[in-house]
Amino acid sequence: MANNIAAQRIQREFKEVIKSDEVAKCAIRVELVNDNYTELKGEIAGPPDTPYEGGNFVLEIKVPETYPFNPPKVRFITKIWHPNISSVTGAICLDILRDQWAAAMTLRTVLLSLQALMAAAEPDDPQDAVVAKQYKDDQEMFRLTAKHWTAKYAGGPGGNPDFEMKIRRLTDMGVEEDQARVALSSYNWDLERATEQLFS
């Protein structure tokens, strides 16, 4: 029975998202990954007036057999610098995707909640402690880093020549680019400390 409900619900929600105003405004999107509605691909536009503006963030959405009695499993495929989202795995810390899930929530409300989370981080309930610390200690550094990640991974505007140069210094030493970016971001773009961490 549960399986049947899951498919019926997702079919309906899929149509709901497609017809929604947000899609019209290009804020959210969903696509089917397989025919039996157990896996979907979601997309969220970075909210305006945030370091994510202009970026397009791809999500993996897995629908459990017990949906909607249990929440969908959602994670970011696109790399993102955010206190409540793991910069390594894309795992999301959001109450409604865990114990605050309610059966009446839909794909649309989940995607909109994620968009809201991007606009208003909760550094006191972090998924990525390094990002959260930076967010609390140095807002400007956080903003620049997040913007850089958005430009690099989510197709956002404006690179950051200073950051790019530092990354190139590390890649010239044989470090993977992504690894170099994570190390530099974690140490507030302090090249020396990042190098030390990478080679220790």
Partner: protein, 315 residues
């Protein structure tokens, strides 16, 4: 879980859709204060995981769920839905409240029970009819019955064994009582009562006999004939304590005054018809028990009863 909205004629109002399964509400219940409505199965399932309203997260328990207002029920029952068996060829469009009645008799139901017309007469679901094989089905029926018979036989054997055991015990108890009654008057009356019951039970197990020719009576049976009758009495379950007494009363020499000579028998022959006679199985002989013939004169009866053997004429 609710009914798929695509099965309904026209657009279904959002208010009639369950927020959990996104189908049209089936057997709906509503939350106590916020009055949000859900299918019964959906909300029960949800509350078993989390005791909150799935829409506004107010705390609720399954005991607080209430039936939805009549207006909502009426709106639901008015919706027109296609039959569950539409994919099997049923083209009916039914009001939601008569769906159950329709389904019970829908001819397109692939699981509708129909009798096999090839001869075995078994009732089977319609969709299994084409793969149905009378011989195979019958074989399986025979197989299960054989199994049952074997079980019963085993049970019977066990019962027989128990009965034999019990009989042996009863016999011992009787012997014991016989030994006791000599010294104890209470025991004597108890034993007498049990013996009377035994005689009545035995006589009830015998069939009523009709003597058509009282003249065929053998009033002086020889020893061989007596021995045969005695064996039949025993085989019929006659209580052993009265067998000898009864057999004693099969000869005119121990019959009461009204029977003990040809002359008195001639005088009293009209009264023969009043005897309640029981057939001694397989023999041209009857037993006339005193306890079953209280209406007969004393000079025509003896304790514990009479045995009358005939040459012929017993039915």
């Amino acid at each position: 879980m609710g009914f798929d909205v695509t099965r309904f004629e026209g657009e279904v109002d959002e208010e009639l859709v369950c927020p959990i399964c996104s189908g049209v509400l089936e057997d709906p219940l509503q939350a106590p204060t916020c009055e949000h409505a859900f299918c019964r199965a959906c909300i029960i399932e949800w509350i078993s995981r989390q005791p909150t309203c799935p829409i506004d997260r107010q705390t609720i328990t399954s005991a607080q769920l209430r039936p939805v207002p009549r207006i909502l029920r009426n709106l639901l029952s008015r919706l027109c839905i296609v039959c569950d068996n539409a994919s099997y060829g049923c083209s009916a469009m039914i009001k939601l409240d008569s769906l159950a009645t329709h389904l019970a008799e829908c001819e397109h139901n692939p699981k509708r029970p129909v009798p096999c017309e090839q001869g075995c007469g078994l009732i089977i679901p319609m969709d299994e009819l084409k793969d149905h094989n009378c011989v195979r089905e019958m074989r399986s029926v025979i197989h299960t019955q054989q199994q049952k018979m074997a079980d019963f036989q085993k049970e019977l054997a066990e019962c027989r064994f128990t009965i034999t055991e019990l009989k042996r015990e009863v016999h011992l108890v009787k012997e014991f009582m016989r030994a006791m009654r000599v010294s104890n008057p209470a025991m004597r009356s108890l034993a007498d009562e049990m013996e009377r019951d035994e005689v009545i039970q035995w006589s009830n197990s015998l069939t009523r006999a009709r003597v058509t020719r009282w003249g065929g009576m053998i009033s002086t049976p020889d020893d061989l004939l007596q021995a045969m009758i005695k064996r039949s009495l025993r085989d019929s379950g006659c209580p052993l304590n009265i067998v000898d007494d009864l057999m004693e009363n099969c000869h005119e020499r121990s019959w009461p005054p009204g029977l003990n000579s040809l002359e008195t028998r001639q005088n009293n022959r009209r009264q023969y018809e009043n005897y309640v006679c029981k057939r001694i199985p397989g023999k041209q002989a009857v037993v006339v028990l005193a306890c079953e013939n209280p209406h007969i004169n004393e000079d025509m009866m003896a304790e514990p009863g009479l045995v009358m053997i005939f040459a012929h004429g017993v039915e």
